[in-house]
């Protein structure tokens, strides 16, 4: 019966937060843009008659037109097609790297905040050390070691993001474990596992949700940055960062080439940023902003 009451309260809090989010126009715009991006990434092959790597040298450097809405590149490939397929790369890297680092980070953060002691000490010091590296530099160094591939990009971004998730969830776990309801759960003999999953974890979810959107935005930027620098995805993969870099070399004759891939990155990051801001306001209305 107790757990029924608890879950009911949880649901209503979630509904409250969602209704606050729905009243935030900017955040709603973010959700809609993100939905469109996901849709276009999934259905990319059906939205365009061209292939992302199909070359046609007779169509090199075509400016935007009705046939090629975003023009073509130095190999005569349709840029709109490449931007749509590039969304697949960005979103896949984001979902996998953020998913893995959120799960790992939450496990580490919740256990270290809940148990404390030597485990917490080890985790906190390890996080201090990983935070001592500028994020993008750490990702670059990891890519230098692992070598250029899309899997390695996900690993590098995942490693950089994990300590952030650990810190966020550890902080919530620390403040939750001293609450009365946790003491009550301990008093009636709840196991560590039960307390962590049923009582600590739900209280970590609000900051976790905000962090997921922030980390996702960073993952999109980092993937593009690594590919831009020639350390991420390999050509001819249609990655936005790679396309921007290729476009930079030809922008004197074909300025549309870097512009559209850069816009795609910017719009994606923008939608995730406003969603993150909206979530923060919806989940923690006391935080002034």
């Amino acid at each position: 019966m107790t757990s029924d009451l608890l879950s009911q309260k949880e649901r209503s809090l979630t509904r409250l937060a969602l209704s606050r989010l729905a009243r935030n126009n900017l955040a709603l715009a973010g959700v809609i843009i993100l939905g469109l991006l996901i849709f276009s990434a999934i259905f990319a092959p059906y939205l365009t008659p061209y292939g992302p790597t199909t070359m046609d040298t007779s169509l090199r450097f075509q400016p935007p037109s009705w046939r090629h809405w975003m023009g073509t590149d130095q190999f005569g490939r349709d840029l709109l097609t490449r931007v749509l397929f590039g969304g697949r790369v960005s979103l896949t890297v984001g979902i996998i790297s953020v998913g893995v680092s959120a799960i790992l980070g939450t496990i580490v953060g919740v256990t270290s905040g809940y148990f404390g002691g030597w485990w917490d000490l080890v985790v906190s010091r390890a996080m201090d050390v990983l935070f001592a590296f500028p994020a993008i530099l750490l990702a670059i160094a990891i890519m230098a070691v692992l070598g250029q591939s899309i899997t390695n990009v996900m690993i590098a971004i995942g490693i950089v993001n994990t300590p952030i998730f650990a810190r966020v969830t550890r902080a919530s776990a620390l403040s939750t474990r001293v609450q009365l309801f946790v003491q009550a759960a301990e008093a009636i003999g709840g196991s560590h596992w039960h307390i962590m999953v049923r009582h600590i974890l739900p209280n970590c979810l609000p900051p976790l949700a905000v962090q997921i959107s922030v980390a996702f935005a960073w993952a999109v930027i980092a993937e593009a940055a690594l590919s831009f620098l020639g350390l991420g995805t390999r050509p001819p993969t249609p990655s936005w960062g790679l396309m921007l870099n290729e476009g930079r070399n030809v922008m004197e004759y074909a300025p549309w080439q870097p512009v559209f891939s850069g816009l795609a990155i910017m719009i994606t990051v923008f939608s995730l940023n406003v969603l993150g801001d909206g979530l923060r306001d919806a989940l923690d209305p006391t935080a002034g902003r």
């Binding site: 010091r125 390890a126 201090d128 050390v129 990983l130 001592a132 590296f133 500028p134 994020a135 993008i136 530099l137 750490l138 670059i140 160094a141 990891i142 890519m143 230098a144 070691v145 070598g147 935005a217 930027i221 593009a224 940055a225 831009f228 620098l229 020639g230 350390l231 960062g241 921007l244 870099n245 476009g247 930079r248 922008m251 004197e252 300025p255 870097p258 512009v259 850069g262 990155i265 910017m266 719009i267 990051v269 923008f270 940023n273 406003v274 801001d277 002034g288 902003r289």
Partner: protein, 320 residues
């Protein structure tokens, strides 16, 4: 303050040790080792083994770490595989360039971010506020390599005002140096200015709702005095913290920006060294930048404690 400083300095030691362990492990995780890079693949196993003995690579890993760490403490970061120069010499010669670029970037970011943040907070929910906050939101969503590309496209290729890439030392030609630094510094400043603006805005908003601000108005002080002497001063700690974070963040951003604009600083050196598999230089830069990042963060915290007595008292008393 002295106790707080000593306490923070002591906390620095394990972090620095940790950084060196991470960098050492990164070097050792690289498939193949220095010998493979130096000799290539077409080499006799005997020659490779002999070279490994010279470099001490046949020793167990903890002994290798000990000798690496002890030479590190003497400032010896090894030799570049490409040029044979000491890594510490390469770092020293490139550091000035990166320091100039990050300082200019941070200066621009503060000059843009702080006044806009204060104004937006003071004129909350007006058009000025909406324009400034929207601009910051867009600025946050523009990765530096995209801002840099757009600037080159607009200012160099279309308007032909500035050369797209290049670098001249400040000592050789100060005007040309600054002219070439405009775009890299602006690129670097873009995202940071947005962060600083948002943080300044929310910090000032927080302060503006306090009673002593109403008192300041009530006793007839002019608005600009209330804003800058009362409101902004009390919002200084969060603003300083975010400026410090941004300075550290810019140390990461320079890698990308230097490579776009052909600025021969630490970041571009690191990238070039990755392409040439010159790992001692790569790890030298990573190690150096991470240490600089930690030290900068420490200095910012110390500055904040100097400004706000509550911070140092709180942390020192926590320890007792």
């Amino acid at each position: 303050m002295a106790r707080y400083t000593v306490y923070r300095l002591l906390l620095l030691v394990p972090v620095l040790v940790g950084i060196s362990v991470v960098v050492f492990l990164l070097i050792h995780l690289i498939p193949g080792d220095v010998v493979d890079v130096l000799l290539g693949i077409q080499t006799s196993p005997e020659a490779a083994a002999a070279l490994r003995r010279i470099y001490g690579l046949d020793q167990p890993i903890h002994i290798q770490f000990a000798s690496w760490a002890s030479s590190l403490l003497r400032g010896d970061l090894g030799l570049s595989l490409r040029s044979g120069q000491p890594v510490s010499y390469i770092l020293g010669s490139r550091l000035v360039v990166t320091a100039e670029l990050t300082s200019l970037g941070l200066l621009l970011a503060c000059l843009i971010g702080i006044p806009f943040g204060v104004t937006a907070a003071f004129r909350q929910n007006t058009t000025t506020d909406y324009v400034a906050t929207s601009a910051a939101l867009v600025g946050l969503s523009m990765p530096d390599f995209w801002t840099g590309t757009l600037l080159v496209l607009l200012l160099s290729i279309k308007a032909r005002w500035l050369p797209p890439t290049g670098y001249v030392p400040f000592s050789a030609d100060p005007t040309e140096n600054l002219r070439l630094m405009v775009m890299p510094a602006l690129t670097l400043a873009g995202g940071s200015a947005s962060y600083i603006m948002r943080m300044t805005r929310s910090a000032v908003l927080e302060v503006l709702s306090q009673d002593y601000i109403r008192t300041a108005y009530a006793k007839g002080l002019p608005t600009h005095r209330v804003l800058y002497l009362h409101a902004f001063r009390n919002a200084l700690v969060p603003v300083m913290t975010v400026v410090g974070q941004q300075m550290a963040y810019l140390l990461g951003g320079v890698v990308v920006v230097e490579s776009i604009f052909g600025v021969p600083g630490l970041g571009r050196t690191a990238l070039e060294s990755i392409y040439y598999r010159d790992y001692p230089v790569v790890m030298g830069v990573v190690l150096f930048v991470a240490c600089a990042y930690v030290v900068i963060n420490l200095l910012v915290d110390l500055l904040c404690a100097l400004v706000d007595v509550r911070i140092r008292e709180q942390i020192v008393s926590l320890r007792q």
